[in-house]
């Protein structure tokens, strides 16, 4: 997969080809003792320096588990997570803590992710202090960072409860970015915010990325935001990557029936809907079936097909655009029917 995707990053990516920044290989994670089941079932992907990779899927697909596993908040059962060649999955104790400055995370909940007893200044300064930055430099970096996220001056001495949701999320971003991490995992960073603030946070993230040359892994259930924000998107279903492509490609030409259904199901303002909504049968399963395609039971294409229920499709390059991969026996068969465009005068 790595080979196929190389060079497939969008134009914004600095063109340092070669080894990807983050190599995830066959990541597995199970929950629950004797009756455990895989929440992540052999997830592999690469992230290149400077790119933004989106991970989309519905609840239970494993995207948050993936985020937490990557930043080592949860242990990993199996697999490798290489950041510039260092396997994060096997690090422990002080070594892990030292490496942490290289991978940071922004959490979903801007109300919970800041210690309510620390001022904005302290919050943003803490990571630097932990990693041994001298005090004078710390002060400078913090001031710079806070200015960057638009919370300079008076804000530094406020406590999180005195901030609005958007402001808090900006503090959280400042705290993560002040370390200049190699990669930043954004776990649903806008889903708890009001619409009018979401745009502000996304714009800020994008500006900082350009400014500091950052790499993002963007976890979201919001397809529109993913399309808008990401260079490349992975679709997760029940712990497996079912499709990955550049966002233009994926949103224009989803090959996996699930991706297609997902895209068509998202509410689209009247007048922008271009395809018939595909309404899936049933609801997402809690756990994967033993055999076959995890999506088979809900799939309009594979529901009645023997092969879908007996053999698990693997992620393979699809025809067409380079780097478009899909795990389906019948890729592209389900394409939402184009809708007659609503009359707009």
């Amino acid at each position: 997969m790595a080979d196929e995707t190389s060079g497939q990053t969008s134009g914004q990516t600095s063109g340092q080809a070669g080894a990807p920044l983050l190599r995830v290989r066959d990541l597995r994670r199970s929950y629950g003792g004797p009756h455990s089941y895989a929440v992540l079932d052999g997830v592999s992907f690469d992230v290149r320096r400077g790119e933004t990779v989106g991970v989309v899927g519905e609840s239970g697909c494993g995207k948050s588990t993936l985020a937490r596993a990557l930043v080592r908040l949860d242990p990993v059962d199996d697999g490798r997570v290489e950041l510039d060649g260092v396997d994060l999955a096997s690090l422990r104790g002080a070594a892990l803590r030292r490496e942490r400055r290289r991978f940071q995370m922004v959490f979903q909940d801007p109300f919970g992710s800041l210690d309510p007893r620390m001022t904005v200044q302290q919050l943003v300064e803490q990571p630097l202090a932990v990693h041994g930055t001298p005090p004078a430099e710390r002060a400078r970096l913090v001031a710079e960072m806070l200015d960057d996220v638009g919370l300079g001056g008076d804000f530094a001495h406020r406590l999180p409860p005195a901030l609005s949701g958007g402001q808090r999320q900006r503090v959280a971003i400042a705290r993560a970015l002040v370390l200049r991490p190699d990669i930043t995992v954004l776990d649903e960073p806008i889903s708890a915010l009001d619409v009018s603030v979401q745009a502000q946070v996304l714009t800020l993230l994008r500006r900082e990325q350009r400014h500091l040359g950052l790499t993002y892994l963007f976890i979201t259930h919001d397809l529109a935001a993913a399309e808008h924000f990401c260079d490349r998107v992975m679709v997760l279903y029940l712990g497996r990557v079912v499709e990955t492509a550049t966002s233009e490609e994926l949103f224009a030409r989803p090959l996996h029936p699930y991706s297609a259904a997902l895209l068509s199901a998202a509410p689209q303002p009247r007048g922008t809907r271009e395809r018939e909504r595909i309404v899936l049968r049933g609801e997402p399963l809690a756990r994967r079936p033993e055999t076959g395609c995890p999506f088979a039971s809900r799939c309009p294409v594979g529901h009645d097909r023997e092969v879908c229920r007996t053999s698990t499709p693997v992620l393979a390059p699809a025809e067409g655009a380079l780097g478009h991969q899909v795990a389906c026996h019948f890729p592209g068969e389900l394409v939402a029917q184009p809708l007659e465009r609503a009359a707009t005068a």
Binding site: E58, S59, S64
Partner: protein
């Protein structure tokens, strides 16, 4: 866009029913065993650590050294501690709880003879507490305002009440030396009444069974003050719990949904809020029991109630450790049993925990 996508969705749903039940049972059993083990260690240590020689207590002060040594050997006090401990655990398990020298009888016999009195007291106290708490808490939660304030004050004061003192005040105010409404601390029955034929050992129940309304009413009158004293703390506790539970439940969206069907506020409260609020409070049975046990220790001696609490106090005063350790261990066992029963009850009553096969 505020779809809350937390890890909740990814969390394992309930494990298959049978396995889950087994696992829960296993964990529960482990907990029970742990608790009992520790309880036995504690009471064993108490027995051994207390100054004074059990053998000396049994034979009396005038025994000669040979006699003393003989009893020591007989009691196994010269054996290594672990052996004594094992023997002690075995004896407890086989209901040989030793000899209460202060009562001149086997502890088992003493406890068995005294238990009905305590049970009867605890039962009525429990009834008073539960009925009182449900009424007060429901009023407080449903009516709010002054009712809520009163319920709050009642529960706060109740929780801070020294039971033995309340007993004293009740005797002074309501007892024969005060208003004379109820008999004071004079045991279970007026002495010229014969206890009813022994069926359950509970005079109120036996009185009814034997068709002796006078015995029933007299027993109940004697019960009233101690049972009220005993009911105050668990009652206050339950009032608090039930008020909080009902307030919580009343705020849940499903109540609004019920109201949106056109169900009146009281019907919604009674059918849905109260039901949901009562369920979790079942699991606090252990705490209620603990407070009844503690209460019986403190209240029985004030009311001269011939229950096991009084035996304990007397055992303490006479350093009769067989009684003390049996009581301590017994109460731990009861606590564990009550909690287990409560867990089972909740599991049976709460459909969310009910083990059902093949629901999905």
């Amino acid at each position: 866009m505020t779809i809350t996508t937390t890890t909740a969705g990814a969390r394992p749903r309930r494990a298959p029913a049978l396995g889950g039940a087994l696992k829960r049972a296993a964990t529960g059993l482990l907990g029970v065993l742990m608790t009992l083990l520790l309880a036995s260690v504690v009471s064993f240590v108490v027995l051994r650590a207390v100054p004074g020689d059990p053998a000396r207590l049994i034979v009396g002060p005038l025994a000669t050294p040979d006699v003393l040594a003989g009893v020591r050997a007989q009691l196994g006090l010269d054996d290594p501690l672990w052996l004594q401990y094992l023997r002690y655990v075995r004896d407890f398990a086989t209901l040989q709880w030793g000899y209460s020298y202060s009562n001149g009888a086997d502890v088992t016999a003493v406890m068995a003879a005294r238990l009905p009195a305590t049970l009867e007291l605890a039962l009525w106290a429990f009834l008073f507490a539960v009925v009182g708490a449900v009424v007060v808490a429901t009023l407080a939660s449903f009516r709010g305002g002054a009712f809520a304030t009163v319920a709050k004050v009642v529960s706060l004061v109740g929780l801070g009440t020294p039971q033995f003192w309340v007993a004293l005040v009740l005797i002074l105010v309501l007892g024969s030396s005060g208003l004379g409404v109820l008999p004071g601390p004079s045991g279970r029955l007026t002495s010229f009444l014969e206890p009813p034929a022994h069926v359950t050992g509970l005079y109120t129940v036996d009185g009814l069974l034997a068709g002796q309304p006078i015995v029933f009413s007299d027993a109940l009158a004697h019960l009233a003050l101690p049972a009220i004293s005993l009911a105050i703390i668990p009652g206050a506790f339950l009032t608090r719990l039930l008020t909080a539970n009902q307030n919580d439940v009343a705020r849940s969206p499903f109540v609004t949904v019920v109201r949106s069907k056109g169900v009146s506020r009281w019907a919604a409260h009674r059918r849905h809020v109260l039901h949901n609020a009562l369920l979790p409070s079942v699991s606090s049975a252990g705490l209620v029991l603990a407070s009844l046990i503690t209460g019986s220790v403190l209240v029985e001696s004030v009311f001269n109630w011939p229950g096991i609490g009084q035996v304990l106090v007397q055992g303490i005063q006479r350093q009769d450790f067989a009684v003390v350790q049996a009581f301590v261990l017994l109460s731990a066992v009861l606590y564990v049993a009550a909690n287990t029963v409560a867990d089972i009850a909740v599991a049976l009553l709460d459909p969310r925990l009910r083990v059902r096969g093949g629901s999905k």
